[in-house]
């Protein structure tokens, strides 16, 4: 323990922590700005400066560790003056167009201003160069709003290991962005959108699809179908003042119906379908490998996360054979809506507009891929992030908290618990194992509450082994085989596993990758802030949703069975291949 005084109050704290943390533990919240606990502590904004007796200058409290006998003052005239000038200087190079900014009332810079209270703009002068990069279908960069905190740089480089964003040039000319002012759609950006979740201002945002969706809703000739990803229900509530981890599935469905969507479907249905298709694909690859087919490509890697897909297309273009050919669930659902469902309700697919609510910014890119078109119609017409949906609900004048619970529409709204956990890192793998293990052995997956505990949680790379014993006769060749699996979330972890794959020394049969740390529950389109505590609460909510369901294995979904009987015929069949599977593009860097 270290003893020091903060504002003349003696405190005793753990060694190695920063002044900022020590103060926080003792109920003093030092005004701060660029700081992100445990992720970004580089003191770039200097807002958190404090006076330390004996030190020559003010110290950034998020950087300096506590020392024995230190005397810290967080609220002196000198500190307050410095903080105010720093804020005013940042503000002098900011557009101050808050009312026309998407981050209005939800901006950390604005919040800081509320606390610092300036009553005039003392510093007027030249503004740094403005560039708005709208080249990507997912993310908009507006450098005029950037205050150079570099959180996005840390996320993009250290957390995701992609490194598209870095500080370019120097001094007043400094800009955060790709090399040579290249637009985002011409570099190896995965469009994961993690940068948009940490940007404190409106410099990095999802590309807005709100008006497109309203226009569709106002068009009398359109049948507007909406689907929501499993992760939305565990996070949307945060936008309406609920604590993280509050499930709002029923209210969300009611809100969507009240807004005028004709059909409210659940991407979960297609998650169950993914398990059937992907599970069979895995079995097929295992059969091929075990029967001596040297072209069988293992490990097989999941393909639900479009940020991950774009990353691997750029970074490991020679390894695309490892990816499952399954489209991501919402694309499958879109394809089914415009074929199977259109026929069922007798509506021309050209009059159907499919909207997906996703926790993800990369999904906005995914729907523009030329592979995601069937019979000339895009599988999905628009993607809204969780944040955008919340803005639309508020705009529609819906009192979200007062809503009664509703239920998804049949038939594409029913799902099992296995589909819910698609939102969580490890979830797709667990859902697949629940089905594949049972198909092969005729027995239930041997884990408590069906949770494959070694692959649950927020560790970067999680692995497990599953030995197959006494399989059903048709799977006799799998007897005694130990299936090795790995799960990772976040692209830095993916890079480690892919380096093994590329070097032909990956020991695994099946790998799950989700592009964002923690999985879709903390995707790039989810409510701000997302930190590890929020991640844990959202994960718990997802597992609660799963455990609360009577049906918890994808192959138990009765509408899936019916879909195969009536339409698809069999997993990996001709129609499945046409509608539900895809291929990938070698992009390189």
């Amino acid at each position: 323990m270290v003893n020091l005084t903060i504002n003349n109050k003696p405190v005793s704290v753990r060694e190695g922590i920063t002044i900022f943390e020590a103060a926080k533990q003792n109920n003093i919240l030092i005004p701060h700005f660029c700081y992100l606990e445990g992720v970004h502590q580089i003191g770039s904004c200097r807002i958190c400066v404090v006076e330390v007796e004996g030190a020559r200058s003010l110290q950034a409290s998020c950087m300096v560790q506590v020392r024995e006998g230190m005397k810290v003052h967080t609220n002196t005239s000198k500190v307050k003056k410095a903080r105010k000038v720093l804020y005013e200087l940042m503000l002098s190079d900011h557009p101050r167009d808050c009312l026309s900014c998407a981050r209005n009332q939800n901006c950390e810079f604005q919040k800081l201003g509320e606390l610092i209270q300036i009553n005039e703009f003392r510093f007027e002068g030249e503004k740094s160069k403005i560039s708005v990069d709208e080249s990507s279908p997912s993310i908009v960069r507006d450098t005029s709003k950037c205050i150079l905190c570099r959180r996005c740089v840390t996320i993009c480089n250290q957390v995701q290991g992609v490194g598209v964003l870095n500080a370019q040039k120097r001094g007043f000319k400094t800009q955060i962005g790709p090399a040579e002012e290249l637009p985002l759609n011409s570099v190896n950006c995965a469009f994961c959108g993690q940068c948009t979740t940490v940007c404190p201002v409106g410099a990095l945002q999802e590309k807005d699809s709100i008006q497109t969706v309203w226009n569709a809703l106002f068009d009398k000739n359109k049948r507007v179908v909406i689907q929501t990803a499993p992760a939305i229900r565990a996070a949307l509530g945060e936008e309406f003042g609920y604590n993280p981890g509050t499930l709002v599935t029923g209210k969300m469905v009611t809100a969507l119906r009240d807004m005028g969507f004709h059909d409210v479907f659940d991407t979960n249905f297609a998650a169950d379908l993914t398990i059937i298709e992907e599970g069979h694909e895995l079995l097929q690859r295992l059969i091929n490998a075990l029967t001596g087919d040297k072209t069988a490509t293992l490990p097989m890697i999941t393909s639900c996360s479009p940020g991950w897909i774009k990353y691997v297309e750029h970074t490991f273009p020679e390894e695309l054979e490892h990816l499952s050919t399954c489209k991501s669930p919402h694309m499958m659902l879109g394809a089914l809506v415009k074929s199977y469902y259109a026929k069922k309700i007798g509506v021309d697919p050209k009059d159907i507009f499919v909207v997906s609510v996703m926790p993800c910014t990369a999904k906005k890119f995914e729907i523009t891929r030329p592979e995601m078109v069937n019979d000339g119609y895009p599988n999905v017409d628009a993607v809204l992030t969780t944040r955008e949906l919340a803005r639309m609900i508020k705009d529609a004048g819906i009192e979200f908290k007062e809503l009664a619970g509703g239920k998804f529409d049949d038939p594409l709204g029913l799902s099992t618990g296995a589909a819910d956990i698609f939102a969580a890192t490890g979830g797709v793998m667990e859902a697949a194992l629940r089905t594949v293990y049972e198909v092969v052995t005729g027995r239930e997956l041997p884990f408590d509450k069906l949770h494959v505990t070694p692959i649950v949680g927020l560790s970067q790379i999680k692995t497990a082994e599953l030995k197959i014993e006494n399989p059903l006769p048709e799977y006799r060749f799998l007897d005694g085989v130990t299936v090795k699996i790995a799960v990772t979330s976040g692209l830095a972890g993916a890079k480690k596993l892919m380096t093994e794959v590329a070097g032909d020394n990956s020991p695994y049969h099946f790998i799950e990758v989700m592009g964002c740390p923690g999985g879709c529950i903390s995707g790039g389109g989810q409510p701000r802030p997302t930190n590890n505590m929020v991640r844990k609460l959202r994960l718990e909510a997802i597992y609660k949703e799963d455990e609360g369901k009577e049906l918890r294995k994808s192959h138990q979904n009765p509408f899936i069975t019916k879909l195969y009987d009536d339409f698809l015929e069999k997993p990996l069949g001709h129609r499945s291949h046409e509608l539900l599977h895809t291929h990938y593009v070698k992009r390189g860097i």
Binding site: V164, N166, K169, A179, I589
Partner: protein, 167 residues
């Protein structure tokens, strides 16, 4: 390649491929050493004359670093050039001592003589004009360098004569 009979420097005749081989060897030697990026870029500029984007991409890949990081470094330090330089690089010191002793006037006069702005290269490829913040020759202020040669206590009227030496 045939040996140069006069035994003069052959680097002008080096092919792109040979240059890339040379920088590859440099990268191999420095790779893994903390903080070696600037050294590598420095030597790359020595070999190629400047740091085109393709070269930065090449270095990024070899070092397993993102291009945006490399580019961030090359655009941070004014010593690095991302466009081809002229045959001779004139650097005018605008550090405090040189500035107060008339560095700015030297810049103005040079821009006039060469008809180019700071950071630009003359149409005949003869000169590139750059500004440095202190070259460590404050006692000789105002100072300029042309390539590796330092010119001390320069005044605007001397500049024409100095430049003519390079034609």
């Amino acid at each position: 390649m045939m040996a140069n009979q006069k035994g003069a420097c052959e680097c002008r005749q080096e092919t792109e491929e040979q240059k890339y081989q040379r920088i590859s060897r440099v990268i191999e030697e420095y790779k893994g050493r903390e903080g070696s990026l600037i050294q590598i870029l420095h030597m790359a500029q020595g070999i190629f004359g400047y740091l085109p984007l393709e070269l930065q991409q090449f270095i990024a890949q070899k070092l397993d670093k993102p291009l945006s990081e490399i580019y961030g470094v090359t655009t941070f330090y004014s010593f690095f050039a991302t466009k081809p330089r002229g045959e001779n690089t004139i650097r005018v010191c605008l550090g405090t001592a040189c500035y107060v002793r008339g560095g700015k006037k030297i810049i103005d006069r040079l821009q006039e003589i060469l008809s180019i702005g700071v950071g630009e290269t003359t149409g005949d490829g003869k000169f590139t004009l750059e500004v440095m913040r202190c070259i460590g020759a404050c006692g000789l202020a105002p100072a300029i360098t042309i390539n590796d040669q330092v010119y001390k206590q320069v005044n605007p009227d001397k500049l024409q004569t100095i430049i003519e030496k390079y034609y």
